[in-house]
């Protein structure tokens, strides 16, 4: 049987950002995620490992997951690099009273792209100090006109419509940051935003960064979960897989096993 053509190339190339020393790129897609049928670009999502500057986000599993190196954010970041992460997502909790210069040292010791998530004052101060590496700035509040330098700024969104509104008229490089707290729920906003980008809608086309770490709270609150490390890896890895199929360009991940799964899945889907 002779079949009709099913290829749907868009002819649009989405925005691409450069990170770190300019040696890491994200975005720049020209098709539905990974689809060779539509001429997909062979690029997998970048995987950023989460490093909070205080608090136990690992729920007591840190020694098992990071061999004790999670007690020192610099060492933790270096370990992320050693296990193959593409970047470090530094989470600075509100009211953090430590020395934020640790972020400078994370940049210089890992040589990886770094994202900084925290109060606008702290984020602006870091942006002003670090000039030899392109950061992703994730201010949890209004930057009130504080300069962002050459860095990329993330806008936190829950839906495609919100992302389009937030990014319309944005100057400089921007990424859309969305979160998932389930293995497959909440990805429609990413898919819609990718489609809007391929249709060249105003405010669309920026790279999408997806935070999969909220899934930890869901898993740890479930009754009857088995081995928590394995269960968390499966849930977070599967959430990353569904997010990348929905168009995630950057993944923020907490578990090293899940991050490894995400990288391997991304490589296979991108045919690398």
């Amino acid at each position: 049987m002779r079949l009709p053509k099913t290829s749907e190339p868009s002819g649009t190339v989405l925005r691409e950002i450069r990170l770190g020393k300019g040696d890491f790129a994200a975005g720049g897609a020209c098709s539905a995620p990974f689809l060779d049928l539509d001429g997909a670009r062979r690029r997998r999502p970048l995987v950023f490992g989460e490093v909070p500057l205080s608090g136990d986000t690992l729920h007591g599993l840190g020694d098992q997951l990071f061999s004790g190196r999670q007690d020192d954010p610099e060492e933790w970041s270096v370990m992320w690099r050693e296990i193959g992460a593409d970047g470090i997502y530094v989470r600075v909790p509100p009211g953090y009273d430590g020395d934020p210069a640790v972020i400078d040292r994370i940049c210089s010791r890992t040589n990886l792209p770094v994202a900084v998530d925290g109060d606008p004052e702290l984020v602006a101060a870091v942006a002003d100090r670090i000039r030899d590496s392109i950061l992703i700035l994730v201010p949890r509040g209004d930057m009130d006109g504080r300069p962002c330098g050459e860095h990329v700024v993330a806008t936190v969104c829950r839906s495609c419509d919100e992302a389009i509104r937030s990014c319309t008229g944005a100057c400089g490089d921007t990424v859309v940051l969305m979160s998932v707290d389930d293995v497959a729920g909440g990805t429609s906003g990413m898919s819609d935003y990718r489609r809007a980008g391929l249709a060249s809608e105003p405010g669309s086309g920026h790279p999408v960064m997806v935070d999969t770490t909220p899934i930890w709270d869901r898993v740890l609150s479930m009754d009857g979960a088995g081995d928590p490390v394995r269960t968390l890896s499966m849930w977070e890895g599967t959430a990353a897989l569904t997010a990348m199929m929905a168009g995630a360009d950057i993944l923020v991940m907490r578990g090293p096993g899940a991050a490894d799964m995400a990288r391997v899945y991304g490589e296979e889907l991108a045919d690398l």
């Binding site: 539905a32 990974f34 689809l35 293995v183 394995r230 499966m234 599967t238 897989l241």
Partner: protein
């Protein structure tokens, strides 16, 4: 995708929640088949998507297959999938099922599969890694009045993504593609990943060899999320 099939009280396709099936082999002795079914029932309890069980004729023996199917059917009230390349084994096994209508899959001999399914009044899975051949088989089955599901024979996640998407798009253009899509995968974490890719990309039925309870919970959640998304879609 609007094509819908009914297998033993379970509907697959039609834009509803995807169905997942674990498998039982007929190389087990009768006691072990019952134990295996107990394991499947335990590890899928409370999970909505595990609506079917696949029985594989790995032994090559029609008698062993029929005996295994009879035990499974006595313990499982949901959908049944009979997987054999031997028409005689399928016919003998189907004889154990009364008025239950299983889904027939005969991977390496699709012509025999269609004929056997037609004799039994059951739907059939046609399988090919060539989209043209798959559409020919689909047309042939439909022409014979047999309900059909399509297995594009993906052996990895990438193929699964490409072929399921291709079928989904074809379904809007030609009727031969407008049938439930089936994916087969094996055991363990890669099977979980492949099943996830398939469900997210329009599969209606995922047949797996085996998964542990944790993986069953995860893939059930993916299936329910996609089912809910399909239900909300305009």
């Amino acid at each position: 995708m609007s094509g819908e099939l009914e297998i033993g009280g379970t509907c697959i396709g039609g834009g509803g929640r995807p169905t997942i099936a674990l498998s039982v082999t007929d190389i087990l002795d009768t006691g072990s088949v019952a134990v295996r079914m107990g394991n499947i029932i335990d590890r899928t309890s409370g999970l909505e998507s595990f609506d079917a069980v696949c029985i594989r004729n790995d032994s090559g023996s029609p008698d062993a297959f029929a005996e295994t199917v009879a035990i499974v059917a006595s313990l499982w009230s949901g959908g049944l999938i009979l997987d054999s390349d031997d028409p005689a084994a399928i016919l003998m096994a189907a004889g154990q099922l009364g008025d239950r209508r299983p889904l027939i899959t005969m991977g390496s001999s699709p012509g025999d599969g269609m004929m056997t399914a037609g004799m039994l009044g059951c739907p059939v899975v046609v399988r090919s890694d060539s989209m043209e051949e798959l559409m020919d088989l689909s047309a042939e089955a439909s022409g014979a009045g047999v309900g059909v599901a399509l297995d594009p024979a993906a052996t990895n996640m990438k193929q699964c993504l490409e072929r399921n998407t291709d079928l989904h798009r074809l379904a809007t253009r030609i009727p031969e593609a407008d049938h439930p899509v089936v994916t087969r995968a094996w055991s363990g974490e890669y099977a979980l990943a492949m099943g996830t890719v398939s469900i997210v990309n329009h599969a209606s039925l995922v047949i797996l060899d085996d998964l542990d309870r944790d993986s069953c919970v995860v893939i059930d959640r993916v299936s329910r999320s996609m089912g809910a998304a399909h239900a909300e879609a305009p």
